[in-house]
């Protein structure tokens, strides 16, 4: 059920997405829960997701995310009126509960652990990426998030939703499917640190054609946009070491 092109959304509410925009989601639309404490980033990610034909709920903290998912009140997520979440995309560095802590809580929950979680971070730190992937994150995106990042996620989500519906709910089925789909998904070939962002700037779209393989040992593309955004899932060991690693910020572990 490939869905391509942009479905234009009629805006029902204001553009500021601080709480949840709840409407019953009985359809095939992919529903993404976006978690980010930055208002600017929430606005951007919301738009990126909507333009990629996703339904979006954006919240500003891990706590609110858990509330939305029904975890904090000790209800099972299944009681939640069909507000099914198909993907959670969360910032890593947030005050209070970090994205990593949110990830752990979700993976510890029997009802929610099936939901793929993607981590976003402005810091390209290998240890952080590893930790997140080990904890069960499906992917790790280096900010700023681009349309190509979201489009890539969208592809494996769509496939995934169908699989999850058919699967017996076992975690392994889910993971295997992801691994398969990751082989055909396009991944940017390498990572560079956020601090080495492009110095050549031009008003036209930089060409950054994603490579069809998940091999992450290719050199950076020679085009003027040297910073591809994300790693593939499950392959931290084959990452190119980032040219410059930023120290872990003090705002989160």
């Amino acid at each position: 059920m490939a869905r391509n092109g942009v479905i234009s959304w009629r805006r029902r509410s204001s553009d500021q997405f601080d709480g949840s925009d709840l409407s019953p989601c009985g359809s095939e639309e992919v529903h993404v829960l976006a978690v980010d404490d930055s208002l600017v980033d929430r606005k951007v990610i919301e738009r990126l997701l909507k333009i990629s034909s996703c339904k979006v709920t954006a919240v500003d903290s891990g706590i609110r995310a858990l509330q939305f998912l029904g975890l904090d009140e000790e209800k099972t997520a299944g009681d939640f009126n069909g507000l099914k979440v198909d993907l959670i995309i969360t910032d890593y560095c947030m005050p209070g509960m970090t994205g990593y802590e949110l990830l752990k809580k979700i993976k510890e929950s029997s009802t929610l652990r099936e939901i793929p979680v993607v981590i976003m971070s402005s810091e390209n730190v290998l240890a952080r990426i590893d930790r997140c992937l080990e904890e069960g994150a499906e992917d790790f995106i280096v900010k700023p998030v681009k349309l190509s990042d979201v489009k890539r996620l969208r592809d494996f989500m769509t496939r995934d939703v169908g699989d999850r519906v058919r699967s017996d709910g076992g975690g392994t089925t889910h993971k295997r499917k992801l691994q398969e789909s990751s082989d055909v998904s396009s991944c940017s070939p390498s990572i560079s640190s956020a601090s080495s962002s492009s110095s050549s700037s031009q008003p036209t779209t930089p060409s950054r054609s994603p490579s069809p393989s998940v091999s992450l040992s290719e050199p950076s593309s020679p085009s003027p946009s040297p910073s591809p955004r994300s790693t593939g899932p499950r392959s931290p060991s084959s990452l190119e070491s980032p040219t410059r690693r930023l120290k872990m910020s003090s705002c989160c572990d």
Partner: protein, 149 residues
């Protein structure tokens, strides 16, 4: 000025901003997210950035004015500013933030204060330029031109 002239002016201005490093490819990304159903997307995001930045710059001034500088707090604010400037493509602001964070990690008050001045300066530059850009766009629309981006 007719629409064609205005459009050329906008194009040249935008190109200049990219060449001078005020904006980077992330700004182009945002422009691509704008369409006839969301014609004000870029302006809206940038306005959020302005509000957020002004708040953070105030917080930074306060934090650096304290007797015992809380560098963790300063760093947290700079981190936020770095993030939002990166998200809209305000490259020069983002770059100063990187230097700023290094001074925070070194607990260097002098360095931090210098960076604060620099980041305020870069912020006000990019703010002016973006406002000029938006004004040009509005002129084009007012002159009957279509959405210029």
């Amino acid at each position: 000025m007719d629409v064609a002239q205005l459009k050329r002016q906008l194009f040249e201005y935008t190109t200049l901003l990219f060449h001078e490093g005020f904006l980077d490819e992330q700004f182009t990304q945002l422009q691509q997210l704008q369409d006839e159903n969301n014609p004000d997307f870029v302006v809206e995001v940038v306005s959020l950035f302005f509000d957020d930045s002004e708040r953070l710059l105030n917080e930074l001034a306060k934090a650096l004015d304290q007797q015992n500088t809380d560098f963790k707090k300063v760093d947290a604010h700079v981190h936020q500013l770095k993030g939002s400037s990166s998200s809209i493509g305000a490259q020069r602001v983002q770059r100063v933030c990187i230097t700023f964070r290094n001074y925070c990690q070194d607990k260097n008050v002098e360095g931090c204060l210098k960076c604060l001045q620099q980041v305020k300066h870069e912020y006000s530059l990019v703010k002016n330029k973006l406002e000029t850009l938006f004004t040009l766009e509005k002129q084009i629309l007012a002159a009957g031109g279509s959405a210029p981006m």
